[in-house]
Symmetry: C2
Subunit: 530 residues, 2 copies
């Protein structure tokens, strides 16, 4: 009987699985299942309205997706290992047996999973950051509204009865591993980046009252969490040992799939947002980055995390609002084709990619995007081109943040569907970064990366290098920085940087984000007076 | 036989005429004729390519349009007077007998009419302004690339043989009056605003070598230039005295048509660009405005000129690039309807209306537009709404420039098709200005204003007040500033102003407008290197 491994990638809207042959590394099948309740930003399943900036999910959706995908890929097959990645930070409150509080209190928003892009906990993040705790040292001395401390703080303050009832506050990735194996095993990757867990100190002790009792000591990546339970075997039809690995954050999971296992390699996972992970032998405290965790992505190395809060989302926003075809794909094709024909022009607008805030280096989710330099001569394609540039400039600023902070960047790997589908953007990345870019030829890279974590955990391969060689990308497309384009984009990047560092712009953006008090006469939502 | 008067309005794309009953003031007919060669920005009639920023017209097109319109309105009718307004500054070089040089040198770009929006003479405007001549005192100490000195300077430097051959350099409005009457009669309105003519000094003597000999002393508005020639009577069939008035600039012509004849009244003529004319008893030298001329629009009063280089053009740019309907009108209707439903929101982007440069207060045609504060939540309608706001903020800044400079603004009249068709924009104007707005109910207001100039010139009415009463608007729609909206827009205007005054933004916009030298490696126009 042929032996297989499975990788599960739990994204924002759906779960995707891949089935790989354990001996040859060949990817033989994949399956995707959307979450039944998707992302809840407007209302709960019962119709209760949610405030602005909320983003919830329903934990049983993950179980349903896991069952569907595992059955589709594994039924009747010998499965040696299952690796699993998940969006983070995506925590939920549960009872001591793992029962999500949303099953007990379906009417309470705070009982649900808070998705990574739940941004309503900004005030708690600000408060924690303002106290300047020592445990934020590896995190540019700040915590994010997307992470566990802020989300826990909001839950504890706004729904203290639920906070008391919650024996556990747990990342959805860890929670799903618990469902699959019957064992509550936390991930050091998730704990490190999202709860500021560092050794030897452990979790921050006094960040949010009651939190520490709701956590559990984490295990390193590449370790087995347990085996698939009998109940799951019954319902999925999976055979074989089915060792389940410790969960890993989705962005970080991709690294072994694209052979990013050595110091000096930076991987950009370009999705709706973009994450940039850089491996290093030692930890430099680099101002502006999101965090640094030992064993965060590849065992034995520090991995810095960094990112753009909106990446593909920015272009998708544009083509959805200003369509050029029967559907989004057709619009993208039309804009990309037209943008490729544009001459290099100094007069084209400069945009800043803050459509969803600035994650690095400013860590400021209140910021919003801008575009300067529009004239009557410009067309929609010019604006699209400027947005593409803005994405590249944001990436450049991140790479510069790393190098300015003392970390070496020797190779740049960009991966995702966007990287494969948009050669114009990738060439622009090479020209803006002034570096050669590698785009690995691999489908479902994140899920394959998760599968490699499973293979390492089950001992099917010796280490991540061996896992990458067997299961990872087999080809790479290289984009070379163009000598005439580099100085052109260098000048435009200086304009981008000048605008990013303009305190007057930042002040206006902050004022726009902060609703005026009713006494200012401006917060009414009653439309026009005509 | 019923007696009539005719008003002719020579705009950017076409000429429009109105026929009014001299006794009752009733408008009984109108006729429009587009210019055969339109606006030439890309090439001459023979196919010769034009550089960027050029905008030419062909003088015989005006004659053709005048003949068509006068015939349509006047054939077989008793015409007492003809008043004529024209875009300005729109000068052409001609022989001493008025023959346009373009008829002799059809292959030479500099032989043609330079339309007001020909912007290729910026360097000459900059040079004249830098010399700080005293004659710019009433013009914020600067001249514009759109005006006569800069356009004459460019012609003299780039085509010295044509400059030598040109016995006359003359506004198209004056040139057309010359054609109609056989007499070269210049307009003090055009000379005042566009050639810096002021009494008692006259024209600036040494601005451009050779220019002063190509000009002629101007007559005040409301004066007769002559009567229609026999040749024109023959070809149009017009009967009666047909006294032709001194030409007037189109923006200024509208004032008597909307009963703006008293000090303290500001009129905004909202077209593709916007002109704001304010009447005053005395002249304050107001920093930032375009110019102040005694008898510039209404006899006996000073009239300040001010404007936004793009107004309707900004919204038209948006709906053309991002259509929402089968044609432009349908797109405007869809956007306006959707914008009217938007709640008042602080978080909506702030835009600056510099899509065609900033005319007032900065006098800087190199500037371009910007928009800040975009997020993934915003839609195309939000952006459209922000552009509408930007137009109102630009108008507010102009009104503030006047009042800060010591001129009283007591009534605000806004007029044009835009003002009549877009009540949402007019209400926003009232709310942003914090003042009541009057929109007169009148069709073809500019042409009717021109007709009133003719009636005054022919002595058919005692003065502009009497002309306004007989021929002008008979109704007015009032928009009252809304008490809850005023503070909301006040806050947003502060953001607008903060961005307008941001030197770093201005610096970036200037850098974008100034092409890099080839040695910078970035001025190549050869597209991508892929």
């Amino acid at each position: 009987m042929t032996a297989y491994i499975i990788g599960l990638d739990f994204g924002t809207e759906s779960a995707r699985g891949v089935l790989l042959e354990a001996a040859t590394g060949a990817a033989v099948a994949s399956h995707t299942h959307p979450y039944r309740h998707g992302v809840m930003t407007a209302q709960l399943p019962n119709g209760r309205k949610l405030p602005r900036d909320w983003a919830l999910q329903h934990a049983p959706d993950y179980v349903e997706a896991a069952e569907t995908v595992l059955t589709a890929l594994g039924k009747g097959r010998e499965i040696r290992s299952i690796g699993l990645d998940f969006t983070a930070s995506t925590p939920l409150p549960s009872l001591a047996d793992g029962t999500p509080l949303s099953l007990l209190h379906p009417d309470e928003p705070h009982a649900y999973v808070k998705l990574w892009k739940h941004h309503a906990a900004q005030a708690w993040a600000d408060r924690i950051t303002a106290a300047k705790p020592a445990y934020l040292r590896h995190y540019s001395n700040r915590t994010s509204s997307e992470w566990v401390l802020a989300k826990a703080g909001q839950l504890a303050d706004e729904a203290p009865h639920l906070w008391r009832e919650a024996a556990r506050f747990i990342e959805a990735g860890d929670w799903l591993v618990w469902q699959l194996t019957g064992r509550e095993v936390r991930s050091k990757c998730q704990a490190g980046y999202k709860v500021h867990y560092q050794e030897p100190q452990g979790y921050p002790a006094d960040a949010v009252p009651g939190l520490i009792e709701k956590l559990a000591p984490p295990l390193p990546i590449g370790h087995p969490a347990g085996e698939l339970t009998a109940a799951w075997r019954t319902k999925t039809g999976i055979e074989g040992p089915a060792v389940v690995a410790v969960a890993v954050i989705d962005a970080h999971a991709v690294m072994p799939a694209v052979a990013a296992t050595q110091p000096g390699v930076i991987v950009g996972a370009l999705g709706t947002s973009a994450c940039y992970m850089l491996l290093d032998r030692s930890c430099k405290d680099i101002p502006g980055i999101e965090g640094a965790v030992l064993d965060g992505a590849i065992s034995g190395l520090w991995c810095y995390e960094s990112g753009q809060a909106a990446f593909g989302d920015v272009l998708a926003w544009f083509v959805r609002n200003f369509p050029r075809g029967v559907d989004e794909a057709a619009s993208f094709a039309a804009y990309n084709a037209a943008a490729a024909e544009l001459p290099k022009e100094e007069v084209r607008p400069i945009a800043i990619d803050w459509w969803n805030g600035c994650r690095v280096p400013l860590g400021d989710s209140a910021l919003t995007g801008l575009m300067v330099g529009m004239s009557l001569r410009h067309t929609a394609v010019d604006l699209y081109h400027s947005l593409m540039e803005a994405l590249c400039f944001g990436a450049r600023r991140i790479v510069d943040t790393f190098t300015d902070g003392g970390a070496a960047v020797e190779r740049v790997i960009l991966t995702s569907g966007i990287a494969e589908r948009n050669p114009l953007l990738m060439q622009m990345m090479a020209d803006v970064l002034g570096r050669d870019i590698e785009v690995p030829g691999i489908t479902n890279a994140t899920a394959i990366g998760a599968a490699i974590h499973g293979a390492v955990a089950a001992g099917l391969v010796a280490d991540y290098d061996a896992g990458a060689a067997l299961f990872g990308a087999k080809s790479v497309k290289r984009y070379h920085a163009d000598a005439t384009s580099v100085p052109f984009y260098e000048r435009r990047y200086r304009h981008y940087l000048s605008l990013c560092q303009d305190s007057r712009i930042i002040e206006v953006l902050h004022d726009l984000a902060r609703p005026a008090s009713p006494s200012d006469g401006g917060s009414s939502q009653d439309g026009s007076s005509r």
